[in-house]
């Protein structure tokens, strides 16, 4: 029995925690996280939407701020006057779509920016993939983001999807998992991005479903929490990275939902927010992914989250993006 009792999510406290994030503007922590402010807002907003408190933050203020993060190249930075990067472009597009304000930005400009980051060169070992920004880092995260961002504007056909799918296939390892790039060690967060990318592309046939499901199921430890790689520590955020991948694979039942809930709930801070593990300091990232992880296992009172886009299912449906589900192999069943 945890100090909160079983199955007690401190909804009001978490809402307050998220609302207070922007109030400590004089603190060192606020400056230290400036580079990813947009992602911080996305994490907070997803948590609020899933907690069914979408109005807890000022929508107009957020929309104006996010629009201010768009640069001349069409991409978005993590904060105003910060360089564009796919990570923050993704968060920005996700925020605007949740707040029903996607039409306030020029989808063609964003598409042009994303397409400019698709590369086939020596740095990418001759494979087609997408870089995070103009400085050339490539990673399966960026391949997923490119596909996901363009799907918001229905321009994903302009990507070399076949080429990118081969890059993702190249990142698959002997254990069925996926790494950050071809040659990279399997890691649960990278597994999510690859499986989600393949879902968007309608190419889940690439996945070794049984081997990968087994590897993912092994991420759950005796305490109920999950880790990202074998022999590593449990961390609340893997409730999302592992849970979402298993959900897409239609193997959610391969982990113990009960033990997972126990773990996430015990990582709450009594003053609001969720930490990486019990006893640590809460932050908005773990609050978001802890709640998203709980939503995946249908914790009562939470809105359903889409396992590919990590946004409420209702928003994903409104945008017509739920159709990835129709492309899941027919032989798979939940």
């Amino acid at each position: 029995m945890t100090m909160f009792g079983t199955n007690q999510l401190l909804v009001d406290k978490h809402v307050e925690f998220i609302q207070n994030l922007d109030k400590k503007q004089d603190g060192l922590e606020y400056w230290m996280t400036e580079h990813l402010r947009v992602s911080g807002i996305y994490w907070g907003l997803v948590a609020l939407f899933l907690l069914d408190r979408p109005q807890a933050l000022d929508h107009e203020q957020i929309i104006a701020y996010v629009r201010g993060c768009q640069n001349a190249d069409g991409g978005f930075g993590g904060h105003t006057n910060h360089d564009s990067h796919l990570l923050y472009t993704m968060s920005s597009v996700q925020i605007l779509s949740m707040l029903n304000a996607l039409d306030q930005i020029d989808g063609k400009k964003v598409t042009k920016y994303v397409l400019s980051l698709q590369q086939t060169n020596k740095q990418t070992n001759g494979q087609t993939t997408v870089c995070g920004d103009v400085w050339g880092e490539h990673d399966t995260r960026f391949a997923f983001i490119a596909m996901a961002v363009l799907s918001f504007f229905n321009t994903q056909d302009q990507l070399d999807t076949n080429g990118i799918v081969e890059y993702i296939r190249g990142a698959m390892n002997y254990d069925g998992g996926f790494g950050s790039k071809p040659g990279g060690e399997s890691h649960a967060a990278q597994v999510y991005t690859c499986v989600a990318a393949l879902a968007v592309a309608g190419r889940l046939d690439v996945v070794d479903r049984d081997r990968l499901s087994g590897w993912l199921a092994e991420r759950q430890l005796l305490c109920g929490g999950m880790n990202g790689r074998p022999q590593k520590l449990e961390d609340v955020c893997y409730a999302w990275w592992v849970g979402s991948a298993l959900d897409i694979l239609r193997r959610r039942h391969w982990i113990s939902a009960e033990k997972l809930v126990e773990f996430v709930v015990s990582a709450q801070d009594e003053n609001g927010g969720i930490a990486d593990r019990p006893g640590d300091v809460a932050d908005v990232y773990h609050t978001c992914f802890g709640i998203a992880g709980l939503s995946l296992v249908r914790y009562p009172g939470l809105n359903e989250v889409d396992p590919v886009y990590c946004m409420p299912r209702s928003v994903v449906k409104r945008l017509g993006l739920h159709k990835w589900q129709d492309k899941v192999p027919k032989s798979w069943s939940q």
Binding site: W31, M32, E34, H35, L36, G77, G78, N81, H82, D83, H85, D133, W135, E137, N173, Y174, D175, G176, G179, S180, K181, G183, G184, E185, S186, H187, R211, G214, W215, E218, R229, P230, Q231, K232
Partner: protein, 238 residues
């Protein structure tokens, strides 16, 4: 940010970026700006002064590496510095990353960086097979030190096909026997470690002949029987 917005590319601006990055390695916009300043300075145009600038940059990076060893931006900047050096010392980098992995054997960035450095070494080498062989030996060393080091097993799985391809039939049998012994050692050390069993399955998958596959399978079955005698409840052998 104001300096950057007005396109100021001076040594003073470089100093300003250094002070900021010492406080916060995550300011990727500042790393970007720093690179732009470097390439705009006159000294960049001359090979010797560029070498000096970037050697200094590598020292600076080494000094702050412990601030946030998981910083993607910092590792990216290091890769940029090395790739821009007229005379990069890849062997020295390999030594550096070996030291890092000695402190944290599973460091994700460390292993990714090691693969990047090894790829550069291989590119420049006359004997590329030798590079693979040395790297393979490094994974053996890591696994002998800790057979639960999955990062080392993973790297090994990428090198094994290359190692096998270099050998004749007898040589390949020798390699596979060593592989078999290594996995069995890991399995007997911890029968419930999923990784060794997955590696064993994969080894079976990559066998070219049915004969080789059967031989390995017989070894695997014998191991399972023995383990179940020793530990009845062990889930993997079951």
């Amino acid at each position: 940010m104001d300096l950057k917005a007005t396109s100021v590319f001076t040594n003073d601006a470089l100093d300003a970026t250094k002070r900021l990055l010492e406080q916060n390695t995550e300011l990727h916009t500042v790393w970007n700006y720093r690179r732009t300043i470097f390439t705009s300075l006159d000294e960049w145009q001359c090979q010797d002064t560029r070498q000096e600038m970037l050697d200094g940059e590598l020292k600076f990076l080494l000094g702050i590496i412990t601030k946030n060893i998981k910083s993607y931006w910092m590792w990216n900047h290091r890769m940029w510095a090395l790739s821009s050096l007229p005379r990069p010392e890849w062997q020295r980098e390999l030594g550096l990353v070996a030291k890092l992995l000695a402190l944290d054997a599973r460091n994700y960035h460390g292993w990714d960086y090691r693969r990047f450095v090894v790829a550069q070494l291989k590119d420049a080498a006359t004997d590329k097979h030798e590079v693979d062989t040395q790297e393979f030996a490094f994974t053996t060393e890591q696994i002998n030190h800790d057979c639960a080091n999955h990062s080392a097993w993973h790297n090994r799985s990428k090198l094994l096909p290359e190692i096998l391809a270099q050998r004749d039939e007898d040589g390949q049998l020798e390699v596979l026997q060593t592989e078999n012994d290594l996995i069995l050692n890991a399995i007997y050390t911890d029968p419930d470690d999923q990784n060794a069993w997955l590696y064993y399955d994969w080894l079976l998958d990559i066998q070219k002949s049915d004969e080789d596959r059967c031989r390995l399978l017989r070894n695997k079955i014998a191991a399972i029987r023995e383990l179940l005698e020793l530990e009845e409840d062990s889930k993997r052998p079951l």
